[in-house]
Every structure is written in C-alpha cells, then in structure tokens.
Amino acid sequence: MSKASTAPQLEGQRLNSVADLELLRQNRQEQQDPNRAEVIVCHGTGCLANGSPKVAQALKQAVAAAGLEAAVKPLIKITGCHGFCSRGPLVVIRPQGIFYQRVQPGDAEEIVEQTLKQGQTVERLLYHDPQSDELLATVEDIPFYNLQQRVVLKNIGWVDPTDIRDTILRGGYLALAKALSGMTPEQVVAEVERSGLRGRGGAGFPTGRKWRSALKAIEKKGRPVYVVCNGDEGDPGAFMDRTIMEGDPHAVIEGMIIGAFALGAEQGYIYVRAEYPVAIRHLSLAMAQARELGLLGQNILGSGFNFDIQINRGAGAFVCGESTALFTSIEGRAGEPRPKYVRSVEEGLWGRPTVLNNVETWANVPQIVEKGGEWYAGIGVPHSTGTKVFSLVGKVNNVGLVEVPMGVPLAHIVEKIGGGVPGGKPFKAVQTGGPSGGCIPYALKDTPVDYDSLTKAGSMMGSGGMIVMDERDCVVDVAAYFLKFLEEESCGKCIPCRLGLSRMREMLESFGMGQGSEEDLQDLGSLAAAIADGALCALGGSAPNPVLTTVRYFKDEYLAHINEHRCPAGVCKELITYSIDAEACTGCMTCARACPQEAISGQKKKPHVIDEAKCIRCGICLESCKFGAVLVR
C-alpha cells in the first residue's frame, strides 16, 4: 500500500483513448501489493441466501478487532459465485488459495487468528475429498476445480463485479481496445468465425455465421441493427448465465460492445429474467461504471463509435427465452413466439436485422478477439470448439457449476468432477439440455459432450443443464416431470403444444399407475412425432425429447410399469409397497417415530412392520432407517 499516495490519475475520469485504458490498468497494477492477503467471500445468489454477507461482515470485524497492521491488512473481497454453492458460503484466501467451505460468521475469528495471523489452516473448514478420503487445503488441490478449464468463468471468484477497476486490472476491456484500435469490423467477424464459437443458448448455431448473415441483411436493408443478449435462463436447475451476469457482468457487456462494433449497431438490449435481481443490479452497475469511464455510450474510448445498452426485465415466462417471443416481449407485447421462416438476423427486433446471442456466447467474445479465433478453436473438438459451462445437479456429490472443454466424456464431468453419485454406485442416466433435452444412459457414459455427439445420442447440448439420476429415479416419472414443466410453460398459441403435451403427460401418468398398453407406447411415439413436426416453436417442438430418449434407452422400465405393474426404481406410488426386512430391523423405532401416518408399529428391539393400508408411500421411513431394513418393491 506504499503507493497509495500516488493516486491513480484516471480514477473517475473518462478514458479518451486506448492508451488511457492501458494507463488505468497499469496504475491499478502498481497499486497492488502482491503480498497482501485477499479474503474472498462468494456472493452469488446461492450463497447470498445462505448468509455469505454475514460471513463477510464478521470477517471484516474480526480483521479490525485483530488489530493487524495497516501494511498487512487483508482485503475482504466480494465476488460472484465460485460454482460450488452446495458447499457454500465459501471463503478463499489468496495468494495461497486456501479454501474454506460452509463458513459461518462464527468462524471468522478463527480464520483471522489461525490463517491470517499464523498462516495455518482451520482444518474443520477444509474440503474433504470423498474419493481420496483426504482433507484438501487449496482450490488448486480440489478435483472439482483442478479438473475444470475456466475460460468464460476465468474472472469469477477473482474480481469484485461491483468495481469496474478490478475487472480492468484483470484485463477487462483489452479486447475492446484491440478491436477499436487495430481491427476493422470485418476482421472482428472473421475472428469470431475462425473461433468456431457456437451459440450457448440452445440451438448451437455458429455465432460467426450469424454475424455474417446479419452483415448481409444490413447490406440489403440498411441500419439500424440491434444486438441482443438473451439472459432469460429458465431451465429448472440451471444457473450458468446467472452466474456470469452476476460475477463477471463486464464480460457480457464487453462482448456486446465488440459485437456492436462489428455490426455497426448503436443500441443493444439485455433481456434478463426478473427473478435474477442480483444479475440485474450488477449489470446495471457495471454499465453505469462503463459509461462513466467512456467504455459505453458516446464516443467509446475516443474512437467515435457510439453504442449503448438497455436492460429489459423478462416477464418470467420460460417461453420468453425463445427468440421471437423475446423480441415481442422487448417490443412491449405479450411474449408469444411467431413462426420464423424469415430469420431474425434479417427481421428481428422491430422488424430490423438483429443479432441475438446468449449470455455465455457474448461472454466468450472478448477472449476470442483478444487471443484470436485460432486459440479458441484449439480448445475443445473440431465442430464444438471452446469450453462450456454446465450446471451439474441431481444425484451427484459435487453439485455446482463446472466449465470444461467441449468433447470431454460425460463420465469425466459426472464422476471425476462431480464426484459421482452419493453412495458410490454408478449413475443411471444424465438428462442434458434442460427440460426438452434427453436422457443419456450409463451405457453411453463415454459420450463426448459436444453438440453433435449429444444430438446423435438423442439429446442435446441445450444451455448446459445436467441432471444426474441414480437407480432411485424412475424414467417414467422423470419424463412426466419435464413434460409437466413444459406444459405449464406452454404459451398456448399453437394447438399441438397446448393440447398435445397434456395428453402425453396423461399417458405417462397412466403408465405410472400401471395402466396403459404397449399400443399406448406406440401411440405415444406417433403423438410425439406430431408434436415435434407440428408445434410452432421449439418449446413444443422439442418437448417430446425426454420421453423419446427414455423410451429409447429404458423401454424395459416402461414395459415393467405397463405389463408387470411394477416400478423398478420404486418411485411410482401406485406401484410400490414398503415393507421391513425383519432380519435387518434392529427395532430401533426410528422409522416408527418418523412415519407421518403412524403406519409403523413394533416393540423396542423387535422387528417392526408397516401397515400397508395406512402407508402413503412417502418413503420417509426408508430415508430414516440406518440399517437398510426398509424395503421398497
């Protein structure tokens, strides 16, 4: 901190050139003391809810109370989500990278005393690796992190998203500077084409090609042209885009400015779902700071280029993430899809040429421009370049957000990074691509996770959701769950989706009750085809996917329901009975106390029994028994 006196010249001042930006960055760098400890507390939506602000507050107080000398006073820094919310709130101490999990305010004093003062770790807060059965001290030691390759997420967990200078210190806006000072718009488009980047929002359309066709449309129709960022992220369990918008808003903004420069756009829109207040706050703040520094708005970095962005709050409907519905929603009308036989690059927002890209797609752009398309294309596999962020949820040890190069095997993500299924059994299937994706069975665990391989397996990349299922998940039940979600989200405009999805769900539910026939199973396939062919937009069009893939890979399980009236996973309530294995039962009475129906009786230290007539098949007894004596059939 000895240089604190030489106040940065450009603080709060407009940057009028690329050189000014570089100067600001250097100033910031010189002010950094490499030995000063940084105590990082994650503040993503997940951990905010779990009390991370209180942890940060307690750490501040503990530091103050410890009377550490000014020269070594650590910086308490707030960052976005580190992707490991199931272990949060997290505290990371740099430069060592010491990683504390599930930190509570009461731990603050010990962290300050032991770690900051004495340089030792607080063992009880360390991560215990279930695979090696070891305590791991640093971020870099933990497989969940060291098996990832962080490109889009590289700043998250490092920068304070509410302070633009922190992002600039880590190289933010260098790509914009490069584009504005040394590249033609044409060169920028060519670089994105060379990168092979494909859209991260669902369909995987090549981004460079989209920009190129927008340029062609502009030639025909002239400007204005709009750039739009899709932050509607509505898949259940997905939080990739939220994390990026919250944790590194400048990456999205910088990507959009670069895109606007390439296309000659003056206005951009970020459509964020209203349920993401922190993302909206951080984006707004980031834009305000960027404007103040002259990185957004009029005459960006003194180049004469003007571009600004407006945030639109989504109305909360899943379907508003669909491109045409998103445009009508921004235009102020009800967000309903319309047929798009004319592409939105030609006729998008207000009928003008428009480039719509997903949050993660935009966030990749700065690094592509900075390091070159070729560098990017070197990551991943030939037709799916770069990395992809996945949200790994369900029956997996390490629930969280992971970023890996495209093309790694599914099992690598689920078993190595995710730590496998709790209890150590193999997973049964993984649903990729969100509610309208597909189910990939364990037998295909080596499927490379890239656009084309997932499609070949009957599923899709989608926006990167991954739901891990184990033997206690019933595919009929799971398929019905996703259908129900989509049925509820259907806008109702077109008949196949509005009426067809409920019929599909009805059929699945009847299977779940042991009704239906093999003929129904065939009907289901023909109905699925009619919906896929007939629906107006991809919500309806891809809704049959989970059904089709589960029928394809788990037909036996469907037949067990239909023909044998049996649910092999023990989920479908109409088809299962709970009982107690008299030999395994120790008579501990735990289950009897836990049962909400008082359906379990028995004497202490004697085998218990379940009264089938009273049992509502909630499974609480099964969860409660420590001896595995409760059976479900």
Binding site: P339, E489, G492, C494, P496, R498, A530
Partner: protein, 201 residues
C-alpha cells in the same frame, strides 16, 4: 414467376406468395382453420402443415406462412403431414366437442373419436385468434384478444369483462370458423344495459 412443385405437380407463384396461396391458386386443397385473407397469418392451428423434401432431407412447415421459393418440393398429404393433422383433429375433438365444423373436418380425415380428455362438452372455440385479429386489423377496435397462457388461454375482452371498445359490428362472429364467437358475443359487447343493471352484483 417462381416455379416449384406441389405433390410432384409443377406450379407457379408470384414472389411474396405463400405455399398455401399458390396451392389454392392451383386448386390443391390444404385444410386451414386460423388463416383468412383479410388478416395477417398467425400460425396457430397448424392444420395447414405440408412437408418439404430435398433428397433425404425433409421438414414439416405451415403452408399459410411459408414463403415460396424456386425449386421447392412440397407434399400436402404425406404420412408425416397426415400424422400431424390427424392428431390435431383428435385434440380438437376433445378441446371443442360442440363444434359441428370440427367434427365434419375430423371425419374428413378419418378421425371419428378422441382419446383426449374432454373438459367442457359445450366448448367450440379452438383459440385460432381469427376473431381478435379481425377485430384489431380490420375493424380497428381491439376489443378482444387471447387472455391467459397455455391451457388456460381464452378469447375475450380484457379481464373477461364486457368492453365498450367493441362496436358490435359482428365481424368476429362472421370470421369464426367454429361458431364459437356467437355464444361469446354478449360477454364481449355486454348485454343490453337494463338487464345488466338487474343482474349487476
């Protein structure tokens, strides 16, 4: 002139035409429910689907909005097309069981009964939105629209309360392909004032 084929038959179209317009010009029948020359198409009913083929590649699109292009190969009655149409008609038999028009159309495509659950035996509306489009685009009154989302969608005045925006021209009733608007009409324009005063809550 744009040249392409419908059902292997050579057809010609003006630039800007749709496949449906071209088919009708050539006397080829494609069923429609939500299409009307007087208003913008919306693509809601999906009954007018056709299949496009190009070698091994094939795709189902709606003819009322698909723009013509040189060399298209359109099939109006293929297996895929029939599958979509039959299922839609079966859904409609359950959605609006009271509509004679739908029953006749379904019968034409060999759909005599439905496996879908019937929720309202009196229902006739297929939510094609023709009435609201006519009201907005032809009459200019904007009195009615679809209200609600998904399976709860309905057609009517905002908040389903009678509106004085309605000029009682009856265009919506005329354009409705199923007769559904006839029974909704009073709920849109409001019943005569005297009765309303008595019945007012």
């Amino acid at each position: 002139m744009i040249k392409f084929k419908i059902n292997d038959q050579q057809v010609q179209a003006q630039p800007g035409w749709t496949v449906l317009e071209t088919a009708r010009q050539h006397g080829i029948n494609i069923p429609t429910l939500c299409y009307h020359e007087a208003v913008e198409p919306s693509g809601a009913c999906r009954l007018c689907v056709v299949e496009l083929r190009e070698g091994d590649w094939s795709k189902v699109v709606i003819s009322c909005m698909y723009p013509v292009a040189e060399g298209l190969n359109v099939y109006t009655d293929s297996q895929r097309v029939k599958n979509v149409r039959r299922w839609i008609l079966e859904m409609l038999l359950a959605e609006c069981p009271a509509s004679k028009e739908i029953q006749a159309l379904a019968a034409e495509y060999g759909v005599g009964s439905t496996r879908f659950a019937v929720h309202n035996p009196e229902e006739q509306c297929i939510l094609c939105g023709l009435c609201s489009r006519v009201c907005a685009q032809v009459v200019g009154a904007n009195a009615i629209s679809t209200v609600g989302r998904g399976v709860h969608k309905q057609i009517g005045a905002p908040y389903m309360i009678p509106t004085d925006k309605c000029v009682a021209c009856g265009c919506c009733v005329t354009v409705c392909p199923t007769g559904a608007m006839r029974s909704r009409f009073d709920a849109v324009r409001g019943v005569p004032k005297v009765v309303l005063a008595h019945g007012a809550r």
